[in-house]
Amino acid sequence: MIPVESESTSKEGTKIVYVSKENLFAYMKERKDEGYDILLMVTGIDYKDHLEVVYHLLSTANGNRLIVKTKTDGEVDSMVPLWAGANWHERETWDLVGIKFKGHPNLKRILLAEGWVGHPLRKDYPLDKKQYVNLKENGEDYVSYDPREGY
């Protein structure tokens, strides 16, 4: 058994466990073997002094749900070897919150244009600075602050 740091319950009654960053992958592998066959989503939260990654797990065999949280400074292990569906969710978390996933096969931006500056779901993201996207000759995106440069 991999130790958990603390336990609590969410408002609708799902168990929440906090796991240290080092134990995360081993803990999740244990849960996968236990029968949690669906990884519903990966969420990144910016708490200003630290970042947090939240995993929602579901077992279709008995309907159990589990929320796994881990505190991080910006990098955690990727869950793609356990659940293939983690791929897009982790890319989205990197794109919007700026958390890196070690061992991810293709950690690129998914919703925003490649080359975008900053991660919008960070609390210190500058909302007043507009960015304009355009295409280079070779088909890649580039981003500029000048409105004449893109759309």
Binding site: S10, I38, I45, A84, G85, I110, L111
Partner: protein
């Protein structure tokens, strides 16, 4: 000529992409070797926008996620928000919600069925599907005041009561939609070309479906009896009778069969709800309009609901203020679409449109 693998762009603007989806397809002759979906063309960051106003204000962005099933989207948000604020909801409001959500499920499936037919080169069923959907939209217009984006479910109830005229309209619709559905189904199922083009196409095994987090009609078409309305009931789904359609094949035709059967079950549910709506308040007086923007929430909550596309829910984190600290939308189309490459590999390029449309992706929800 020597054998060569070429890369072809499908979309982002193409008549059969259901929105702005771009797929980079690697082709060896006619066979798809690999596919790489590119998304994000409709990205508005609804999650960030929702973090910038009071709790009820997020509803207008939630409406615009899955824009063919807005009420199902609102339901997931208000249920989560109510849990966050420990709000009590009157029984009448819950039953009204349940009925409208089932009607919206039928409307969403009809949109899918019509456009699915278009993708396969069938123009006729499109008009029949739109005719029936129009009747549902008129019912929604009568109840909520708008046809597409309703903003009708409020935290603590619904914004207005249903009128006797609306109940008559619903009764009239439910009475003969079953026979209309039979006709529409026959246009597809008795068409030799349609069946040939969808049987054994775009197969998804159960292991892959679970690994990719695929839910909803796709999971049920791959052989898993999993429906949140039955397995983890919310609202009053435990008080009505209905079945969950399941198919084992996991191909496009199985998804078609599952969705058709789901519409039948929705009629069944709506008919039962109609006879069970109790008299009483339709919203909680504690959450009347001037109070709505002063609602405060603490802790985190995630109430999963079965939307027409799969498991939908909003993960809310409150920090004790009137503004949600973090809003995370679990959209089923996003997870379902991520499994697209394995459904396409090894099939012919002509099967691509059938497979893509069988996922029922709505890009307001994928890109958020």
């Amino acid at each position: 000529m020597e054998d060569k693998v070429i890369e072809v762009n499908f979309g982002p603007q193409h008549p059969s992409t259901h929105g702005v989806l771009r797929i980079k397809v690697k082709l060896d002759g006619e066979i798809i070797m690999d596919a790489y979906p590119v998304i994000g063309y409709l990205h508005r960051n609804a999650e960030k926008l929702s973090e910038m106003g009071a709790y009820p204000k997020a509803l207008i962005y939630i409406d615009r996620l899955d824009y063919v099933a807005s009420l199902n989207n609102e339901l997931g948000y208000v249920l989560s928000a109510e849990k966050l604020m420990d709000a009590q909801v009157p029984e009448r409001a819950q039953w009204i919600r349940m009925m409208l959500v089932e009607l919206n499920r039928i409307a969403s499936h009809l949109v899918w069925l019509g456009t699915h037919g278009l993708d396969m080169g069938m123009l006729t069923p499109y008009f029949y599907c739109w005719r029936e959907r129009e009747r549902i939209l008129r019912i929604f217009d009568e109840i909520t005041g708008s046809r597409l984006l309703y903003n009708y479910f409020a935290i603590g109830g619904v914004y207005s009561d249903i009128t006797p005229k609306a109940i008559d309209m619903i009764k009239e619709f439910l009475a003969d939609f079953g026979s209309k559905l039979e006709e529409i189904q026959a246009i597809f199922a008795k068409n030799y070309i349609y069946v040939k083009r969808t049987r054994d196409v775009g197969k998804l095994s159960l292991e892959d479906a679970l690994s990719y987090g695929v839910t909803g009609p796709l999971l049920r078409a791959s052989g898993k009896k999993w429906d949140l309305r039955k397995n983890q009931p919310y609202l009053y789904y435990d008080q009505v009778n209905f079945d969950i359609p399941v198919r084992q094949e996991g191909d496009v035709y199985a998804r078609f069969q599952v969705r058709i059967e789901e519409m039948r079950q929705s009629i069944k549910i709506a008919q039962q709800v109609l006879s069970k709506i109790p008299e009483g308040e339709y919203y909680n007086k504690k959450f009347s309009k001037p109070m709505l923007v002063r609602l405060k929430g603490t802790g985190d909550s995630y109430v999963p609901t079965e939307s027409p596309k799969g498991e939908y829910g909003v993960y809310l984190i409150g920090d004790g203020s009137t503004i949600p600290y973090r809003v995370r939308i679990r959209s089923p189309s996003f997870a379902n679409l991520s499994a697209l490459p394995i459904m396409l590999k090894g099939y012919k390029i002509a099967d691509l449109t059938a497979t893509v449309s069988s996922l029922d992706p709505v890009f307001g929800e994928v890109d958020r």
